[in-house]
């Protein structure tokens, strides 16, 4: 990247922060800087207040989120009371699958207190990916690895106490 002129000392710049956050996510970590810059540029910041939903269970969503500051609750609420799945915080990247295709949300995500996140829309993402077709295999690889990693960790954590859930395991075999 070109250096800044002498009259432009470094000032915190949203684009650079976005860049730093995105390059730490599983989806973008292997991207060359040239294309990563475009994705960082296309991401927009959104500020949410306590209780605001980023997305809701059952909704079709077409964007991914990367949390810049603050926290959010991942919730699951079928007919019964809403259950907390876990909390997510700065640096977490959520909902990336929605960038690749229609994703019906199976959970809800709500802000806890003030929070800021980068929002990347599918339309922008796919337009940008078209510009860097070489990156497509990398994206698929990243998703595959993430799914397998996830289930691997899940299995380790599961230990012996699964009970009736065994027949439903195997999302990494999709």
């Amino acid at each position: 990247m070109s250096s800044l002129g002498k009259n432009s000392p470094e000032v915190p710049c949203e684009f650079k922060e976005n860049l730093d956050l995105l390059r730490q996510t599983y989806l973008f970590s292997g991207f060359p800087l040239e294309s990563l810059k475009v994705f960082a540029y296309l991401g927009t910041r959104e500020k949410l207040h306590d209780g605001d939903y980023l997305f809701r269970q059952g909704e079709d969503d077409d964007q991914a989120y990367c949390i810049v500051s603050g926290k959010a609750r991942l919730e699951l609420g079928d007919n019964g009371p809403v259950r907390l799945i876990r909390e997510v915080g700065p640096g977490d990247f959520i909902g990336g699958l929605a960038l690749l295709g229609d994703a019906r949300r199976l959970y809800s995500l709500r802000a806890i207190g003030e929070m800021v996140c980068i929002v990347l829309k599918r339309e922008k993402f796919s337009k940008a990916v078209q510009q860097f077709p070489d990156q497509m295999p990398r994206i698929f690889r990243a998703v595959v690895e993430a799914v397998i990693d996830w289930e691997g960790r899940f299995l380790v954590a599961l230990g012996a106490d699964c009970g009736g859930c065994l027949p439903r395991l195997g999302v990494s075999l999709l």
């Binding site: 002129g5 000392p9 000032v11 710049c13 475009v38 959104e46 339309e123 940008a128 078209q130």
Partner: protein
Amino acid sequence: MEKAKQPIVRRSLFSWVLDGNLGWQLSLLAVIAVVVFARVLPLEMQKRIVNQAITLRDLDLLLLYCGFYLAAVLLANACKYAINILETLIAQRVLKRMRSALYDHILSLPLSFFRNTQPGTVVNSIAIELVAPSNFAGSAVSTPVANILTLLAFAGYLFWLNPLLAAVSLSIYPVAMIAIPLLQRRANIANQKRVDLSRTFAGRIAESIGGMHEIHGHAAHRIERRKFDRLAEELKKIRIVWSLYRFAVKTTNNLFTGLGPFLVFLMGGYLTIRGELELGALVAFLSAQEKLYDPWKELIEFYQVYQDGAVTYRRTMEFFDVEPEHEREPGDRAPLALDAHLEVKHLSIATGSGIRLLDDVNLELKPGEHLALVGFSGSGKSTLALCIGQLASYGEGQVMIGSQEVARLTKQDIAANVGIVFQSPFIFEGSIAENLLYACDALADERAPTARPSLDDIIAVLHQTGLFADVLKFGLNTVLRAGTHPELARAIIRVRHKFQERYGGKFRDAVEFFEESSYLVYSSVADNLIFGAANREEFTPARISRNDYFIAFLNKEGLHQTLLDIGANLARQTVDILGNLPPDAVFFEQSPIAAEDLPRYKSVLEQLRRRKGGELSPQASSSLLDLALRFTPGVHKMAAMEPEVQRILLEKRIRFRAEVSEDIPGAFTFYNAQEYIHSQTILNNIVFGNLTTASTQAQDLITQNIIQLLIERDLLETVIDIGMNYNVGPQGEKLSGGQRQKLVIARAFLKSPRMLIMDEATSALDNRSQARIQNLLETRWKRRSTLVAVVHRLDIIRNFDKIAVMKAGKIIESGPYAELIDRKGALYELVGKK
């Protein structure tokens, strides 16, 4: 039905010559008669000057004959000019009519024709290839008549002077008339190839331009260059061959005509020496003989124009000689009002290679019934829908609407009864209103103009389809030019006060108010400095960076260099991120540099790099200043703005206002809660600030409150009306996918058709909008219009009267939803999979 007249593609080239130009051609002939006389007269004068005036030493006679000579030359030239004008007029009239007629013909060609034809080919044919034939038509009467007459007149004069000499000197022309066509035939063959190749060439260029993202994406520039070069090389060769033959025709002709004087000198000299011919007569004969050359040359040139024109014309017309599948208009009757009873019987379509796209499809829908076509992609759903809408031709079987065979109806009959919404809608450049009324306007030509929907109808449809919020947004985002809507502007100020009073505090987070003491992150640097709207052209944002007064102010306050640095940094960052991306709105909506300006800023940066602190060219520094003045940190996130700079700019804001108010009173209207700001959108005028949130939820909340205020003041319709004039850009590029789809659905609904065909018409809509449309179909259109809907998402088909499941071109089961699910057949399986 009355048989339409000969289609344009079968018309002969000659039919254009007189058709509609008779008057012009006759006036041309009148001028020609004069010109022939004026061309022959000087010859006689020439003879008399030598034989009479000079021989008799009669000065008066000399002056008289010279006078006649001069008058004849002047007249001949004036007439020649008039002929040129008339020929041009006729040629241009013919060109325009040929183009219109051909375009009209192309518009009615079946869709299948366009699947195999590149747009560039059509453009090339209409824009370029028709020029040569029309040029021929312009001169088709005048040139041969004028030149043959002149030729005959000269020839007659020559015979009158000396029959023997005349016969000898004219003997070369028959020889030329045999030799030249032989060469011309070769030229024609080359020209034919050239026309075909040009068409391919144009098509190939258009194709490459259309696939530019693929070329960039694969860095395939070299492959494309090679493909292009191959064609260009071929075209070069064929053009050279063509030109060589054309010049060969010319050279041969020149050779023959050059021989003329040679024969006259030989023969005439001999006769004069023998005393059988006067010297004056020989001079006259020689001049007349030389004069033969001009009309002859023109005739030969005309012959070439004719041959080239005829070949080009034939080749072009042959290419488009495809029969339209349907009559466009019913002609002598009004479009039929069909009973929306649909029957499809034994419908089959097979491709050339024998694949059956549709295979013995049968179905029946009573008026007002709704049918959902489901199945995997490629099962024939869309093809069936297209057949019903007369957009695909079918080989076997019948499609009947109200007991009329669809294939035999005219396009107007279908349009008057059927509304079609395609899967990937195409929106034309123009306003929302134009696109919305596209279908109605197309019919209104034929039907009574009262068929146009009223504003109330339009607004109702906007609400139904959910487009209302979008149109309102376009309206609210409009910048009203000073003087265009004075009443609205005044009313908006009252709305502004109400908004402040009611919600001012509530939206602190989402709005950056126009406060004099704070730097506006969502306004440009120029707006921050000036903090007002220009009342004079030279101070408008587009020109402020070149305004001497403003630049002098910047220099005096020591801001100029600071701004150039900001501009340079911003240019560097923007070029770094966007430098190699295509000009897509997605990439450039947050960019301070428009796609078309990128090259300019790249070269400015190059200059900066090379000069290393030296002086920039005035253009470069003006570009950087312009960029800096546009810098809006809230939008252009690739660079940050230092708080120190913000503080300085705030200081200078106060100084600028003080100075400019004194120096040029009235140049600006400064932001003031009592005045309308004509440089800002209606929305910004109402909130008296900039929206700072990207969150749609927050924006919707503000819009909701504004709608409330607009309704209270009875302004909503006015703003909607302004929004309806929003220009959607070429191919509707300024609309989102969802907005386009809503627009075409609204367009179909607005026509109130008896029959609706929707091909995955809601696939680009979000859940809420999709549910809204589905609900609308069930409550408003059921039993009113017959609906055939190709549906991809199976969660919306429950309430259709009938479901037809398609597989490999066949309907494998059909019936009401519950029945099919109970049957546990194909639909049950499909639903289970989803």
